[in-house]
Amino acid sequence: MKVKVKYFASMRDRMGKGDEELELQEGATIADLWQAVSQEVLPENTLVAVNMEYTDLSHPLKEGDEVAFFPPVTGG
């Protein structure tokens, strides 16, 4: 299945890109996705969202999902 991945702020700098598309096995979780895109451990305070809703690493993905990784927010 195909998923879209987005990186924001310092996470984009770390990954060297703002987004990518990935082919994953059915039933893959966000933790699996991270292993596919990086050798490094996900920084502890990283936030993850699927289809623009906050979730956690155990979230199982499906075809067409948009996954985002980003650091703690600093708006306002």
């Binding site: 987005k6 924001f8 702020a9 310092s10 700098d13 936030l47 969202a49 623009m52 809703e53 906050y54 985002a68 980003f70 650091p71 703690p72 927010v73 600093t74 708006g75 306002g76």
Partner: protein, 149 residues
């Protein structure tokens, strides 16, 4: 309810006045509480900050703010509310964010306004990069409101 994420400079007081005039029925709201966050020229021990750049997650940011405002309106019986937040380049003394809440009584308006800005600062996907005299840096965390709901 109005949620706007925009690049352009805005006048928070004119925004509140215009929204109230156009959208609030006369004689029903007794209390309005407005929070405006303005860019300072110092932060976290850095002085002389010249500018910052605010990034966001288009789509998720707006959706998140809408949900928070809806939550606040239900929880505190709020009549209406409004959030305006800038993105892109911002300079000291420019407004960054406006949160306005209208309700019958003041306690609800204070509680709801504070809830919205606290959630915005801790959960809405915005990120600040500051241009300090020592170079650019991503701001790593927001100050916590000790009375965060």
């Amino acid at each position: 309810m109005k949620i706007v994420v925009q690049e352009g400079l805005f006048d928070p007081w004119a925004e509140v006045a215009a929204y109230q005039r156009d959208h609030l029925p006369a004689g029903k709201h007794g209390g309005t509480v407005v929070f405006v966050g303005t860019m300072r020229d110092f932060n976290d021990g850095y002085e002389g900050i010249r500018a910052m750049f605010l990034e966001h997650y288009p789509g998720m940011t707006e959706r998140h703010l809408e949900k928070v405002c809806q939550d606040a309106m239900e929880r505190w019986d709020v009549l209406d509310c409004m959030v305006v937040h800038r993105v892109g380049e911002i300079r000291p003394d420019e407004p960054i964010v406006l949160v306005a809440v209208w309700s019958e009584h003041r306690a609800m308006a204070f509680d709801a306004c504070r809830f919205i800005i606290n959630d915005l600062k801790s959960r809405a996907p915005f990120w600040k990069r500051e241009a300090t005299p020592q170079g650019e840096r991503w701001v790593e965390h927001n100050t916590q409101d000790p009375n965060a709901a």
